[in-house]
Amino acid sequence: MVKWKDRTAPIFIENDDFISQPRKRLRLRFALVFVVTLGGTWAWHDVQADPYKEIRSGQLLATSTETGSPRVFANIDNKTTIEVSGMVAHVSVEQHFRNDHDSVLEGIYVFPLPDKAAVHRMRIRIGERIIRGIVKEKAQAKALYQQAKSKGNKAALVSQHRPNLFKTNVANIPPGETIVVELDYIDLVQYQQGQFELRFPMAITPRYSPRVQQRDDRQADDPQTVEALVADQLGWSQVYAPTTSVTQANLAVNRSPAALEVSTELTVSLDTGLPLKNIESAYHNININNQNDVYWVNLDHKIKPLQKDFVLRWQAQTGKSPKAALFKQSVKDEDYVQMMLLPPQEAMTEHYLPREMIYVIDTSGSMQGQSIIQAKKSLALALDQLTEQDHFNVLNFNTSTQQLFDSSLPATSENIINAKNYINRLQAGGGTEMMTALKKSLRHSSHEERVRQVIFITDGAVSNEEELFKAIYQHLGNSRLFTVGIGSAPNTYFMRKAAEFGRGSFTHIGDVNVVHERMARLFSKLNKPLIRDITIEWPAGSDAEQYPKKIPDLYEGEPLLVNASVKEFSGLIKLRGKWQGNKSWEKTLSMGSDVNHLGIGTLWARQKIQHLLDQKVKGRPEQEVRQSVLDVALTHQLMSPYTSFIAIDQKPNPKENPALGAKPLLNAVAMPKTATRATLSLLWGGGLMLFFIILKISMNKEEDYDLDK
């Protein structure tokens, strides 16, 4: 937890989770007491547990410990530029805040990032002071931090409070000063049922602080409650509108005119690489312009405080065959390319490839209890998904492997009932001999035209991961391996990698309550395979480094993304696969334009880092992996196990005395000596020479006198 006591000192945090559990609980109890006295609702305690829960847009919060009316920074201007390339969104946020109070304040800037977003640049300007966030090698970041600290500079804390909350503190904000925050992040566009969706957090929730007396009490007993004060200043939703006069006064303070007249500009450039069917904004009025296949979307006027996030949705014109688009970003000598393959919207049922489903269930001892219950429930749901054109079989393994049928049978209702009875009788116990089960389940199918999907339900408690990966690689054939992780702490590394080698996907079920939802999501996808055995042929000599290395199949409702780094991309790429039974499918793509798409390189780098980290587990020396990861992470400014995001105040604040505005910086002592001794030296020189001449003359006269004598 951040110790607010020392908040003027630089703080450096490299890990993301720093919520201290005991304190959280303590505050929670407080909240409960409070809720009861207020007669409020239970929703309170959620808010209390996470003081930033109500944050739904970028905000600068004051953390002043002074009592009295809460301090807020006026948000005076917001400018957001979003560049969408296919499914990648590069978001640049610029927010202006002002300290309208007459004292120096401390602030915390928080931004609620979308789930899959990652920040790669930050800059905060306070007058001529600049706080810059950069990604540095860990040890170097630490050294920089120490250096800043010893110089008396303020290094800012940068962290993610929870995975998707960006948070940094800003010390010493003088009165009247404007703070400009710039934040750049990369996000992925969501896709569901033919619709793309981009979400930008900008909702401003009505705020007030109805808890003046309460705050004073708490302040007395714990200096750390400053954090709780922040929560107060965030305010809650309108449901808790206060009734006492004290709180109404606070309400007035917080709803300053400045806060209501905030200007908000938002521009989206939408380059999807495909002709669009429609674009719509869920909650706001927008203007749309179309220029060279790029759609420009603006909020149609500068808006008053917004109650909703900005949500933009669009649909591509999809025919009966998959559409593809290419995007490129050039960074230095490297080109990064992203290929997006979009499945047709409502494919004919006959387009779905027939399947052979193999269900494998782990019945080893480690599955006892909740896990086996979850696994059985998942399996029962899976069986209900089968259609008559599918074939299936069920395997279970502990010390040995058993199977329901000798070979896969059609999914007739009789066969399904048999299978359900078989599953019901299963009990957990014994060892985990996964190898035999894997090999048996992956055995090459005789049905060439079928997509062979192996659903592997396990907690992944294995130790011979490497051998298993090798076995998957060797025996996969035309099968696809989908792993389903059971229990609260399955071996996710193993299952994620196994699915990757198996060209499938990994589904995690942590809780028995989500079995239905998660399995339904997996099966709605698995039911609709469209193209299998996809390969990409890059132009000759382009030296492409592609992720994922093995391309998964294309399913309805799920676009496929492939990222690659190439040397000077030019020419055509060829996509090949099998579809509609066993027919071959081919598509040729060329780069439409030379436009530089931001974020494409970053996305590739993220996948590359993941790939490198996996190599460490595979036995590549840590030192080698570290160097490779550093190369990528520093070039692309990404967080990784070897890099940290650090923000340092680049100049100490010269305005320590805020009351004056101007302050004496120079005095007689500090004044430089701005005169040379040249004049003095010349004068001395002249004087001495004059004496010399006089003396010489007198000596000559004496000489003459002597001679005369």
């Binding site: 100049k651 120079l666 000596k673 040379t676 003095l680 010349l682 001395w684």
Partner: protein, 192 residues
Amino acid sequence: MISTNKRWKPYLATILFIAGMAATADGIAIYLKAHAAQILIEQAWKESINSGQIVKPWPWADTWPVARLRAKEAGTDLYVLQGAQGSALAFGPGWMADGVEPEQRGTKLIAGHRDTHFKFLQKIKKNDVLSLINKHGTEQQYRVHSIQIIDTSKENIMIDSREEKLVLITCYPFDAIETGGPQRYIVSAVRD
């Protein structure tokens, strides 16, 4: 009597001659150094702009050029060195650490010797234009809005670092013989 006279006078004459020459040479050297160094500094500045690195004008220098200062009306073109310590001011005007960096926004402070580089300040008038070129090659124009003489034993120079200003500081009076006086000549210019 006369012979004793003769004995000390040549010695005194020699001493006077040597001391007089030394003092004169010292005075001339100061001017020579001040002007000749600017040529070496010009070289370093050009290299520095090309490479983006700090380039020292000579290997043992403890300062380096950080900006270029020009005053059209006074016909002055100077390279400003890092720091306002004596070892820098001997070779060029010095960039004072109390102000912001040349590339930043805010009040910039430069000090110079009243009898060498900043002698031209006595010719500067209100509304004259000063231009400052930073290491990125960006030129900024400043217009002189005030010229003050202050006694630093009685008052301080007030600067507000929020203002975009260029302040040039030198000793006063310009033709004083003694050094180390309390008066300063302050030329303030605001960003055009």
